[in-house]
């Protein structure tokens, strides 16, 4: 296994020896062992910060070798969001070393803590918090030990170059100070952090550690793995979601140059070749040689609202206060929709798997190595401990895309071809047609304005599913559904949680004495769906903020002032005010055909605060909308890497522009018809804004707040509001295509 890694050149610094992995695995297991050993059961352990609560030993997170080598482990994965760099900064700061002094190991079931999924903008909140506490406590151990040896007070010591230095010049290296046993202790709930004034790494725009390799052709992605003896596989997916393989004459394909094997297992079809191009050619031939029975399983795309309403099973109350009745006076009522949309990674999903004896190793760009391992083991009927899933970066993920499915494809094929590593690369058409989509949603709002210019009533009805069908069970994997002994997906349950999923941000952040927010829960979706960046928050914030704008108009109030009128959280007010100020909201003059809009949300109602004000231009003759400039303000708590926050926020705004103006999955009653970038257009450089600003409000001492998904909803809402401002027309259905805009504004 290590051979493969080294030959594939996974890391220039090489891979830690197997023994290291063993030590960590042991420390991961030791919690349950310790509990079993302790008789009678110990009292309920204290709640620990972030992911420390589930992985309580310091050496699950940080290891210091005798030679001074420092290794930090996270169960989170780099998804292109820059988390590796930000977590490294946190670790380096609290360990009081340079970022270059740390070997950083991300999600790997063989080595790192189980932190579930890298999702929901929780990596800084969970892993960042855990690493910060662990690092601070390790630093404290180092200082205490050094103080003991030097017989001085810890306050007289300082850290310098992975060593502790006393005021008289005596110095001792970190490696000399610790033994493995010293860090194999449970973390405490409290830590003493470094003072912000003494920060050397945190709060600074440390350049991303992964970018140099990415721009010079280094090994950076799972796509780049090329272990010795690797075979290239391609899968042939059914022509439609309801299709079943009826017959196959694979003789011709098996005779093609380079073909090693044709894999058929129920409706799962794949081909394995020596060369990659040979695999592509064989895949095409195999597709032509297969006969399928297709069933019309897809709903009527032109009438999604009725389709979604028809799928309702139960209703959950997300939030309720005061009287739900809509008051007298001015009211606003509207129906908003969002279509199915794709993650659309530029690099289609890819995975490498190898079966060696009884053990299977899978390299995947999954969001969750542990859950994916569980699903793959179940699919293959293997014991969990015989399967290792190692995260390796893919193209940007934006949620649950095809990564786990490609991993399952590779695992299934590798199991049938033991010995050699097998690389599965999805084709573009497969990614477009088979990744789980961001779900369609329907929202109906009724709201009223009181005589005092404040919102007097708010009824909000949402039709949505849970937005997450991530693995856990094998039924979440395409290969497991298609194989002969097939697995079926678990049926999602309605569950109202603080951060929400389908109902995420359905509860407005505003002071509303009378409101009722209902979630009409759809357990099943006619198209396969799962988590797409921001989940329900994208459409919910769009609907809430569109309604806020209409109510502001009804109140004859400025949209920014109207929002502030209903906001009492000072941090929320601060981002709205800052975005408005930097945008120049007070100076209203815009060219003809231009409009401006604002959008605000606190992501998940507990993560980052983000407000964005933007200006659009609308081409009346074509209906083309372009965002000219966007100005945002964000508060993510204490800032670890300001440039990382800026990069993520800029990206969120631009991606949301793309979703909001262009994107919808298309289908007929049987097949998905948006299968490439021709049929599913996204943002191109022609329509990129002239400028995008991100202003950060730093809150030293406050907890880290998730950032990566904060912009999606507010940006969409701000675009809708700006179009309303420019044209006098409110658009309710996403996306705002040229045709819809032109139809709305008329002649």
């Amino acid at each position: 296994m290590t051979d493969i890694l080294e030959k594939g050149g996974i890391t220039r610094r090489g891979v830690l020896a197997g023994a290291g992995a063993l030590v960590v695995s042991f420390s991961l297991l030791s919690r349950s062992l310790a509990q079993e050993a302790a008789q009678p059961p110990a009292p309920e352990p204290p709640k620990l910060p972030g992911s420390l609560d589930e992985n309580r030993f310091l050496d699950a997170w940080i290891r210091i070798d005798a030679d001074g080598a420092i290794t930090v482990f996270t169960g989170k994965a780099e998804l292109g969001q820059g988390i590796r760099t930000a977590l490294l900064q946190v670790a380096a700061e609290e360990l009081d070393v340079g970022p270059g002094d740390i070997e950083f190991v991300t999600a790997d079931t063989g080595r790192t803590p189980d932190e579930g999924f890298t999702a929901g903008s929780q990596s800084m909140q969970n892993s960042g918090t855990a690493i910060r506490h662990a690092a601070a406590q390790v630093r404290e151990i180092l200082f205490t030990e050094a103080a003991r040896r030097f017989a001085v007070a810890p306050g007289e010591l300082r850290a310098e170059g992975k060593a502790i230095v006393a005021s008289d010049g005596r110095s001792v290296g970190y490696g000399e100070l610790v033994s493995a046993q010293m860090l194999h202790i449970e973390a405490r709930p409290q830590s003493s952090f470094k003072q912000p004034g003494t920060f050397r790494v945190m709060g600074k725009p440390l350049p991303r550690v992964d970018i140099p390799a990415k721009v010079t052709g280094g090994v950076a992605y799972v796509h780049d793995l090329r272990p010795e003896g690797m075979l290239h596989a391609r899968v042939v997916r059914p022509p439609s979601p309801g299709a079943r393989l009826t017959s196959l004459d694979a003789n011709g394909v098996e005779a093609m140059p380079g073909v090693v094997s044709v894999i058929r297992d129920g409706s799962f079809l794949g081909v394995v070749s020596d060369g990659e191009w040979q695999a592509v050619a064989a895949m095409r031939a195999l597709a032509a040689a297969a006969r399928w029975e297709e069933t019309a399983t897809l709903p009527d795309q032109t009438d999604l609202p009725a389709v979604l309403q028809g799928l309702e099973r139960e209703v959950g109350v997300v939030s309720e206060s005061g009287s739900p009745a809509i008051g007298e006076g001015k009211t606003f009522e509207a129906t908003f929709t969002r279509p199915y949309q794709i993650h659309g990674s530029i690099g289609p999903s890819c995975a490498v798997a190898q079966m060696e004896g009884e053990r299977l190793t899978v390299w995947s760009h999954t969001q969750g190595v542990y859950p994916d391992r569980e699903a793959i083991a179940e699919m293959l009927g293997m014991p969990l401990e015989q399967v290792r899933v190692i995260h390796m970066e893919g193209s940007g993920c934006y949620g649950h895309n095809g990564a786990d499915d490609a991993a399952a494809d590779a695992a299934l094929i590798a199991q049938k071809l033991p010995g050699r590593p097998v690389r599965v690369q999805w084709m573009r058409e497969q990614e477009h047609a088979w990744e789980p989509y961001g779900p369609a949603m329907l929202i109906k709002v009724r709201a009223s304005l009181g005589g005092d210019g404040r919102i007097s009533g708010w009824n909000y009805d949402l039709w949505s599913n849970t937005h997450s069908t991530r693995p856990g069970g094998a039924g979440a994997l395409l290969a497991a559904r298609h194989k002969e002994q097939s697995f079926t997906p678990e049926t999602p349950e309605l569950n109202i949680s603080p951060s929400g999923n389908g109902d995420r941000n359905a509860n407005p952040p505003y002071v509303l004495p009378n409101k009722r927010v209902l979630w009409h829960f759809l357990p099943d979706m006619p198209l396969r769906v799962s988590a797409l960046r921001a989940l329900g928050a994208y459409a919910n914030v769009f609907a809430v903020e569109s309604t806020m704008d209409e109510l502001a108009l009804a109140a004859d109030a400025d949209p920014v002032e109207f929002r502030l009128r209903h906001l009492d959280d000072p941090r929320a007010r601060a981002v709205v005010e800052l975005a408005a100020e930097r945008f120049g909201w007070a100076n209203a003059a815009l060219p003809r055909g231009h409009g401006r809009g604002v959008g605000f949300a606190r992501y998940k109602t507990l993560a980052a605060y983000l407000a964005v004000a933007l200006e659009v231009e609308i081409e009346r003759e074509t209906g083309r909308v372009r965002v000219v400039r966007a100005v945002s303000a964000i508060d993510s708590g204490e800032v670890v890497n300001p440039d990382g926050i800026r990069n993520q926020t800029e990206g969120g705004i631009l991606q949301s522009i793309s979703w909001t103006l262009y994107e919808a999955v298309t289908f007929d009653d049987t097949r998905i018809t948006s299968v490439d970038w021709s049929s599913y257009p996204i943002l191109r450089f022609a329509s990129v804004p002239d400028s995008v600003e991100v202003h950060i409000i730093n809150r030293p001492g406050e907890p880290f707040l998730g950032t990566g998904e904060a912009a999606q909803g507010p940006a969409a809402a701000a675009i809708g509001n700006a179009i309303r401002n420019a044209t006098g027309r409110r658009l309710h259905d996403l996306p705002f295509t040229r045709q819809r805009v032109r139809n709305a504004i008329g002649a």
Partner: protein
């Protein structure tokens, strides 16, 4: 004395002729009017104007990509020099803001501007003369409610004496058949509606009918094929080169959607036309299709039979009946040397054009391609070199251009192979030279992504 008399007589006669000519040519200025505010126009009339302007494709010639809609200034190259389109926004100083409706009606009917100047027939008044007063009223209402833009078009660059506008009287005398089209009582109402749209505002013949030496349409070869912006406007009469003959239904679908599964996608200037026609009601689209398909006429039994065979062949292929072994026919190096066109086709074209993605986004099966079947290969030369650039934010066919990797000879070999394999028509001649002229811009081709109108995407069509 005698000589003097002769000279005097000549002078008098010449004077009279000149006077007559000027009198004949002279058109009065129609007084400027402060034209009413937008609100005065009936919204229903404006709405109708939207559709009519779409039929006329007015925006295409009266807008410079990257500038404001209808502000004019677009260079229209003609064999006689360059003409710049005018500003038809309601700007009072530089546009038509002071034009009364009467002046607008006269421009459409007679090709004369408000001041009384004769207009060059690059403005296709030989077609627009057919437009009814009522429709002109709607067009006028539409244009007068656009955003006024102050913009002056550059002066025309025409050779002497063509820059002398009164000469246009002669042109009009010969080629302008003024006034509405007489209804054809033998045809249906739908056919007559289609004829009105296609021959009038739609000015199909402006591109699809060949022109004579004086730049006028050759009426005897109505719809026999012409060209525009470096693209062939195929014959849409009985000589249509489409492998599967067009009929009313396929034409209507194509005009509505910009593609048809048996014909492929519209591109070049026709893409703009089909893009605009999307605004029309189905009844008008069907009317145009009815009329144009009647001009094409019923295909010969041979064409029918050939089309049926072709359909059967295509049908079989799409069902995946090609044996897997067939896909192994990728050329070996030996083939590449022996028949380079076939090898290039198999390596560069087949993966999309024989792929599984259906029209309009997948590559067209070339046996259905009008471009491969046409007498002049210009369009397929254009597409091979420059591709189909993506439309900004819109679903559209996308094809990469191959100018960067295919040399002139290689393109010629490829196209010769495709002609031989996918068409029964005789081989093209002079291919490599045509490719060279197209690549270098000696023969100008416009290939622009659809980016809306107020952005100026680069013309990827030729080195400028």
């Amino acid at each position: 004395m005698r000589a003097l008399r002769v000279i005097a007589a000549i002078v008098v006669v010449a004077g009279l002729v000149l006077f007559g000519l000027v009198a004949f040519a002279w058109r009065s200025e129609i007084p400027a009017e402060e034209v009413a505010e937008a609100a005065q126009f009936d919204p229903a009339l404006i709405e109708k104007g939207v559709q009519l302007a779409a039929v006329g494709n007015c925006i295409a010639c009266h807008t410079v990509p990257g500038s404001k809609a209808f502000a004019g200034g677009l260079a229209v190259p003609t064999p006689f020099g360059t003409i710049y389109s005018t500003n038809i926004t309601p700007d009072p100083e530089t546009g038509i803001g002071r034009w009364s409706e009467v002046a607008f009606q006269r421009a459409m009917r007679e090709g004369v501007d408000r001041e009384g100047n004769h207009l060059y027939p690059a403005f296709p008044y030989d077609h627009f003369t057919r437009v009814t007063d009522e429709d002109n009223r709607a067009l006028y209402a539409y244009l007068m409610t656009r955003e006024p833009v102050s913009a002056v078009a550059p002066p025309n660059e025409l050779q002497f004496p063509l820059n002398f506008r009164p000469l246009l009287v002669g042109w009009k005398f010969l080629y302008l058949d003024e006034g509405p089209l007489a209804a054809n009582a033998e045809q249906s109402e739908e056919w007559n509606r289609g004829a009105y749209l296609a021959e009038g505002l739609g000015h199909c013949g402006a591109c699809h009918t060949p022109r004579n030496d004086l730049g006028a349409e050759d009426k005897d070869r109505h719809f026999a094929g012409g060209e525009a912006e470096g693209w062939q406007a195929y014959a849409i009469d009985a000589s249509s080169p489409a492998p599967i003959p067009w009929d009313r239904e396929s034409l209507a679908f194509y005009l509505r959607n910009g593609w048809h599964e048996l014909h492929g996608v519209s591109r070049g200037p026709m893409a703009e036309v089909t893009g605009n026609l999307g605004l029309l009601p189905d009844s008008d689209i069907k009317a145009i299709a009815t009329y144009v398909s009647s001009v094409m006429g019923e295909p010969t039994p041979e064409r029918h039979q050939r089309a049926d065979e072709l359909r059967e062949e295509i049908e079989g292929r799409s069902r995946g009946l090609v044996a897997a072994a067939d896909s192994q026919d990728s050329p070996t190096a030996g083939d590449a040397a022996a028949e380079p066109g076939a090898a290039i086709y198999a390596a560069a074209c087949a993966s999309c054009h024989e792929g599984s993605r259906p029209q309009p986004f997948g590559g067209l099966d070339f046996s259905l391609s009008t471009a491969v079947n046409a007498p002049n290969p210009q369009n397929i030369v254009n597409v091979t070199l420059f591709g189909l650039p993506p439309a900004d934010g819109e679903a559209s066919s996308v094809m990469p251009g191959f100018a960067g990797v295919l040399g002139d000879e290689q393109v010629a070999e490829l196209l010769a192979y495709m002609r031989e394999r996918f068409s029964d028509e005789p081989a093209w001649t002079g291919l490599a030279e045509q490719v060279r002229r197209t690549r270098t811009g000696e023969y100008k081709v416009s290939v622009k992504p659809a980016d809306g109108i107020e952005r100026a995407p680069i013309n990827v069509g030729a080195e400028e």
